[in-house]
């Protein structure tokens, strides 16, 4: 019996959905935004992939230039100075769905054998205006527009029937108000579910994202997030106020969760955890490297040999200038800021930690962090890449130092053995489950609040 009533109510909703143009219009708008988001995210990551692939040509051109410049083999010191290689941060197959920080951070680092700390923070040619406006990817559609869509189709669930005068005739049937509300919400939930699953699947297949366990996490997270917003609508709807009140309150809540809270957290982070280590590190590193010119060569080499004892028995520096001495003080410059570098990376990590802690209060912020973590585009992924670039620089040093210290000429054929680098961004698994739990708690909280309010309101009426 109860199932029959529910089925009838759902069917009635379906009929009125087909009749009411505004619902249909909102659905089409969401789909259009979703398709544009998928397209523009795909275009951005494709551009990055093309540029990353293009680096190979620049690398080969540089090698040809070196070969032309030093036809009979070179001093490896010259190669280290004039030749550059690239550390590359390849996007995950999911990256186009949520670009995250990939547009703001460089996705490759050009490296020479010189001190790495002077090269690690170089930035990319990006239009700051574009960065400030942000990307229109599928994640943006889900984080910002989906809640507006949910609000648009739910805000007048009750009030519209009342204002149209149709509520009385429905309630005169053997249907309770809660059953009616439940059916209306259920219908909308099914509609949202269909739309988000459809959009996600389109996005995933357009980008040929690997359909691993993240498929379920993506959809699960999106459904939880939609449920949270349905819950928020429920809280307002059960107050049984007019449509205008509902619309204003819901937009107000959207503004609170999606804009005001993140913006405020941001201020808290910037003020509580200021970050000037980057500037300090750069200034100090230059002093150290340049002091290398004036320090006694023997002293520099002895300090260097404590890190590389295997080169201890190589010939002493005799000439006014020798490359191995030059690179030795470059490396010592890096080592002198090692502790500052550690503090800097640690501070970046603790900023990111504080960010995710504060974001738990704002489901949109949590959901955005969740999507970025899932697609390997969050700040953590960037820090991993920077760390991997430092490791790569170490490999380059390990490759070039023997040429310098054992006086081996660097031949054209030696380029084939130069280490190469490609870091594959991966999902930040540690961030995924806490975010899901935070969204689940937020959903349960609004559901509870709604239920309590419904009880209060109905007892008031009685």
């Amino acid at each position: 019996m109860r199932h029959r009533i529910l089925a009838t109510l759902l069917y009635t909703e379906w009929l009125s959905f087909k009749r009411e143009k505004s619902l249909l219009l909102f659905t089409l708008l969401l789909l259009a935004a979703g398709f544009y988001g998928i397209y523009s995210g795909h275009a951005e990551i494709s551009r990055q992939r093309t540029k990353l692939a293009g680096l190979e040509q620049l690398y080969q051109d540089n090698i040809s230039e070196m070969n032309a410049k030093y036809p009979d083999g070179a001093d490896a010191g010259d190669i280290g100075y004039y030749h550059s290689a690239f550390a590359r941060n390849l996007p995950d197959s999911w990256a186009a769905l949520s670009i995250g920080q990939r547009d703001a951070n460089p996705y490759y680092i050009k490296l020479r054998l010189l001190a790495v700390q002077n090269q690690l923070y170089n930035s990319e040619n990006t239009n700051p205006d574009k960065l400030a406006s942000g990307t229109f990817d599928l994640a943006f559609v889900l984080v910002y527009i989906l809640p507006l869509f949910i609000v648009a189709i739910c805000f007048n669930i009750y009030s519209a029937e009342k204002e149209r005068g149709t509520l009385g005739s429905i309630l005169s049937q053997p249907v309770s108000l809660s059953a009616l509300l439940f059916a209306k919400f259920l219908f909308r939930f099914l509609l949202i579910l269909t739309l988000v699953i459809f959009l996600s699947l389109v996005g995933i297949s357009v980008n040929t994202a690997t359909a691993d366990s993240r498929l379920w996490l993506w959809i699960g997270g999106t459904v939880l997030y939609s449920l949270f917003w349905l819950g928020v609508c429920y809280v307002i709807v059960v107050l049984k106020k007019n449509s205008a009140f509902n619309a204003v309150s819901l937009l107000g809540l959207w503004l609170l969760f999606t804009v005001i809270m993140p913006v405020t957290f941001n201020v808290i982070i910037q003020i509580r955890q200021p970050l000037s280590e980057g500037l300090q590190l750069t200034l100090k590193q230059r002093e150290e490297v340049h002091a290398g010119w004036d320090r006694p060569k023997e002293q520099t080499m002895q300090r260097f040999f404590t890190y590389y004892p295997k080169y201890r028995n190589t010939p002493e520096i005799g000439a006014r200038f020798e490359w191995k001495w030059y690179y030795a003080f470059q490396e010592l410059g890096d080592r002198s800021v090692d502790s500052l570098y550690k503090v800097y990376s640690h501070k970046l990590k603790s900023r990111s930690h504080l960010t995710s802690e504060l974001s738990k209060l704002s489901p949109p912020a949590t959901f955005q962090l969740f999507l970025n973590a899932l697609c390997g585009t969050d700040i953590r992924a960037q820090l991993d890449f920077m760390e991997s670039a430092v490791q790569y620089h170490n490999k380059l040093k390990a490759f070039y130092y023997p040429y310098l210290f054992y006086k081996k000429p660097f031949l054209e054929s030696d380029f084939a053995f130069e280490p190469r680098h490609a870091h594959q961004s991966v999902a930040d698994r540690n961030a995924i489950y806490p975010a899901l739990i935070a969204m689940l708690i937020a959903f349960l909280a609004v559901l509870f609040a709604g239920a309590v309010l419904q009880l209060l309101v109905s007892s008031e009426i009685r």
Binding site: G54, N127, K130, L279, R286
Partner: protein, 473 residues
Amino acid sequence: MIRTISQKEVTSVLRDKRFVLIGVIVVLLLVAAVITGIISYKQLSAERTIAQQEASNDFKDQPARHPHRMAHYGSYAFRPKSSFSFFDFGLDSYTGTMVYLEAHQQNSSNFSTVQQSGSLLRFGELTVAFVLQWLIPLLIIFLSFNTFTQEKEDATIKNLLSQGMTVGEIALGKLHGYLKVLTLILVPALLATFVFMFLANDLKFNGDFLLRLALFVAAYSIYFFIFLALCILVSAFNQYSRTALISLLAIWIFCCILLPKITANMGSLLFPAPVKAEMDALVHHAASKGIDGHNPQDKRRADLTKKLLAKYKVDSVSQLPVNIDGVIMAEGEAYSSRVYAEEFDKLADTFRKQSSISEWAGFVNPFQAIRYISMGLAGTDAAHYVHFLKAAEAYRYQLTQHLNHLQASKLKYHDKDTRLDSSHWKNYPEFEYRQPPVTFALSRHWISIAALLTWGILLLSLFRYLISRLFKP
């Protein structure tokens, strides 16, 4: 009669507790934005001033050195915060803060806030401009969406019309009343803002400053007027408060959230920019092979040597009265800097083209017009950033050439050992960035200014006409 209607609107708005509550929230946010803006301004400003001082002193305090070593030691340019930037952060969090200035190469400007923050920053920043551009329009919508629809629903509009008033006159009265309410809220808030500003900053009351202030107030007044007029028009057009409100909220979402992102994305898809590595390779290639490919570096050096030998009538470079090392270095720097400047101008032009779509969108969307005008006046837009980068590059170039000339005039040919006295660095002027005058900002955003003025003038002159055409009883 118009005055009576105006007075009625003011009274009824001020009686509405919900409106007073929202007004208080907005004003509180404005005050919070001012305070955090000033804190962050002071923090970043101090950080950069100290760093710039340190970098400049490091350079000045160098002992006797070979000039070319000084050219490699180089200096730093830190971008000072514009004194108006606390009002509108603009793009400041998305631009680099320091450039390393050294011989032979142009480095990127590094350590932008966005690179050192997580995704939260991308949700926006709490600034005065944010409150004025985003939240005040919402407040205006809430204030006036039902101004006509309520009268229709209560059938009071018929009374007004039967007393011989035209719809246009009623609408003018309403406009007048709401402007008064907005003034009541905003003027004290803005006054408080400026008091905070004067307490926190030691600003000088020069003409440029006052002009900026006046232009800010004027531009935002036009912006609020546009929103208010649109709200009243929509309310006149709709029969129900509910539909008027939904339409206005939809317009707000479209203007403040969707369209800016869409046009920014379209811009970067339509006008792709080269990555830094490509640009560097291009500059390097053009500098070593010659801009047209027919004038390689070796040939340029040989020509220069020949010219100098002929000029001083000697037959070997060691007999020249100038040190050819320095001359060649200066020539190379001049050539590669010229190539770089060309490429940089192309890049800046690409960025301008990317943003021009958003600027033209101002004719459809007043939010985008005020956004650029406000950023421009605050000195936090892309044009000011490019201006800083060019100033940094100009300083780098002059410094390097100064050191090259020292090498050419004070050192002998192939002399790598002589060190010049430290006074040579002590007296070199430090990098001091001067923000361009307000005319710079205005000339860069004439599209947005035209868009905002067009909106304002059209609505002002056509308001009565539009209202009578759109009004539905």
